[in-house]
């Protein structure tokens, strides 16, 4: 039997495994995912449980019942922190899924078609890269909240959070498009692609089966970075008071508790630390992936 040489992904994994920073990142990301999946089972209270407030026990310092204390709304800080993980992942993955689809389509067309199409699409992407994204998102979230009043959209659950996710996706695609374009340009004349053309493969199969899979490693690095960035952006939007009041998100906790920073610092520090760990995890992961898939760039 013929033994196959390890493929691109397996080779990448061998290199990734030796990168300590990258492995730490993978561990942190896995931890966040695990918390998101397990939060309904391990959280000590319900995320909507405000009964501490009725007992006059809001803003209580950490003790054995409330391991990380309670916040000014009477929520258990630990519970809200655990449940926040799934919101954060939903934001990060949702936004980057949208950004990846737009980015790969735009960048792929630009790189494969070339010429005027390429020029126009890349100018379009550049426009989005220089726009003050965060400022625009704040305005759109607020104004959209007024536009939907009285329409059927109002009944959509978590509409505000979904608006933020879609907006982040619509603004974060240019880096992916640029990378996709560069990769498609590079691979368009690769030998195996020429070979595929020679045996008469259709354009569709060349693009989707030959070029795209080989462009993926470079794109995945950007997606990992983008997930961390999107989570951070949602946190900042919520921190400023434009988030989804019904979502259990770290940014919301920061927003509600920042005024009470002096009396109940634990209610601010816990979600803040959670954001830090998540963003650090994705940053380290992206760093490790860069080293694993682009060994030429290794320092």
């Amino acid at each position: 039997m013929l033994r196959r040489r390890p493929g691109m992904w397996r080779q990448g994994w061998y290199r990734f495994r030796r990168n300590r920073g990258g492995m730490l990142g993978l561990f942190l990301v896995a931890l966040v995912v695990l918390v998101a999946v397990l939060s309904p089972f391990v959280a000590p209270f319900e995320p909507s449980d405000q009964s501490a407030m009725l007992r006059g026990a809001s803003r209580r310092a950490p003790d054995w019942i409330h391991l990380l204390g309670t916040d000014r709304n009477g929520y258990d800080v630990l519970t809200r922190m655990l449940y926040g993980a799934s919101t954060a992942l939903a934001v990060g993955l949702g936004a980057m899924a949208i950004a990846s689809v737009i980015g790969v389509i735009v960048g792929g067309i630009a790189g494969y078609a070339g010429g005027l199409t390429d020029e126009l699409l890349m100018r379009f992407a550049e426009f989005f890269m220089v726009i003050p994204v965060f400022v625009v998102i704040l305005a759109v979230v607020r104004l959209f909240g007024i536009v939907v009043v009285g329409t059927w959209l109002e009944s959509v659950p978590h509409l505000n959070l979904m608006t933020i996710i879609v907006l982040l996706g619509c603004f974060e695609w240019p880096p992916i498009a640029r990378m996709a374009r560069a990769e498609f340009l590079r691979l368009r004349h690769a030998e195996f692609v020429e070979a595929a053309v020679c045996i008469g493969s259709t354009k569709r199969s060349i693009l989707l089966r030959h070029i795209l899979p080989n462009a993926l490693p470079s794109l995945i690095v950007l997606v990992a970075l983008g997930i961390g960035g999107a989570i951070l952006a949602e946190t900042m939007v919520s921190f400023l008071g434009f988030g989804d009041p019904r979502a259990v998100s770290w940014g919301q906790s920061l927003y509600f508790n920042y005024e009470a920073l002096k009396v109940a610092p634990w209610a601010v520090l816990s979600p803040g630390a959670a954001i830090f760990v998540t963003v650090l995890g994705f940053n380290l992961l992206a760093d490790g992936l860069t080293d694993a898939f682009n060994p030429r760039l290794r320092r």
Partner: protein, 322 residues
């Protein structure tokens, strides 16, 4: 293509960009309808006549396109209209608040630049040592700490626990520190600037260190060393200059990021800058202020990108103009 043509093209593109942002924002704000109606509706004693006359006073009658071109025409002689909440000229507000934003952002980036050069040189000249590893780890941690979280930690430590620095505002409302407006202002700047310096230094160091390591490995450095130049001149005179090129492009991006997230920075420290003004304006639907602030922030951002683009071409003639 010549440098002049390249710069002209960038200028035109930047102008189009600012126009594009203004069109998008104007259209969006008008999609919600007449802000006067939203603000005044359901208040006692407000009749349709009053809404109509107030709208007319603020120039809100007429079609959207007409109003856009009036607004654009006025902007060209720096008239940003009148705030519908404060009834003040927006241009005056922009200058007052803009000063406060620059007051923390410029020192924030300049001090960080100096610090990151220092730290990167120390780390890069001792590659793979413990110091180098510590610098990389520290920079990575600092870069991943959300900037507002750094601010919160600084406030907790220096204002609440140690009680030595003010936690909010740009000046004291009761007694000034040492009875001097200047010293009091500086004292209030320490924490916000400290937060920006922390974040910017970490990000710039990550970039500058790896760039410096790369450059120090090249042949012309070997040649400089071989010619007997003192190591200090090799590093600062020859290596640093070349290592700086990628950092320079990033500087524009970083400044843009800082201005774009100014609303967060200024909320953390209750700093009376453009970002804080923008947040209140959005909450109150003060549309001339929303438009004005966004235009100023976009303008600064595009200006920063443009300057770095141009500096890039002038510093490094090897770059192909495309």
């Amino acid at each position: 293509m010549g440098t002049a043509r390249y710069i002209a093209r960038r200028l035109i593109f930047s102008a189009c960009l600012i126009l594009g942002v203004s069109v998008i924002l104007f259209a969006m704000i008008n999609a919600i309808g007449n802000p006067i109606e939203i603000l005044l509706a359901e208040r006692p004693g407000i009749t349709d006549d009053i809404i109509e006359s107030v709208s007319k006073y603020y120039g809100l009658d007429g079609s959207v396109t007409d109003r856009y071109f009036t607004w654009l025409g006025n902007i060209l002689h720096l008239d940003f209209g009148t705030s519908i909440i404060y009834n003040q000229p927006v241009s005056e507000m922009l200058v007052a608040y803009g000063q406060e934003t620059l007051k923390i952002q410029l020192p924030g980036i300049l001090i960080a630049l100096a610090l990151s050069v220092l730290v990167s040189v120390v780390a890069a000249t001792r590659q793979h040592s413990r110091v180098d590893f510590g610098v990389i780890a520290g920079a990575m941690l600092g870069h991943s700490l959300p900037s507002f979280f750094i601010g919160i930690l600084l406030i907790l430590v220096f204002s609440y626990w140690l009680g030595i620095l003010p936690s909010y505002g740009a000046f004291s409302t009761r007694s000034m520190l040492m009875d001097s407006k200047f010293i009091d202002g500086l004292w209030h700047m320490v924490l916000p600037v400290g937060m920006l310096v922390f974040f910017n230094t970490a990000t710039l160091t990550l970039l500058l260190r790896s760039s410096l390591v790369e450059v120090l490995r090249q042949d012309f450095i070997l040649a400089a060393r071989a010619s007997g130049l003192p190591e200090r001149r090799v590093v600062f005179g020859h290596a640093l200059r070349n290592a700086f090129i990628p950092v320079l492009t990033y500087l524009g991006i970083l400044l843009g990021l800082m201005l774009g997230t100014a609303p967060v920075t200024e909320t953390v420290f209750t700093w009376p800058g453009l970002g804080a003004l923008y947040i209140t304006a959005i909450q109150q639907l003060d549309y001339p202020v929303i438009m004005g602030t966004t235009m100023v922030i976009t303008f600064m951002l595009v200006g920063a990108t443009l300057l770095t683009d141009i500096a890039y071409v002038i510093i490094d003639p090897r770059i192909r103009l495309a």
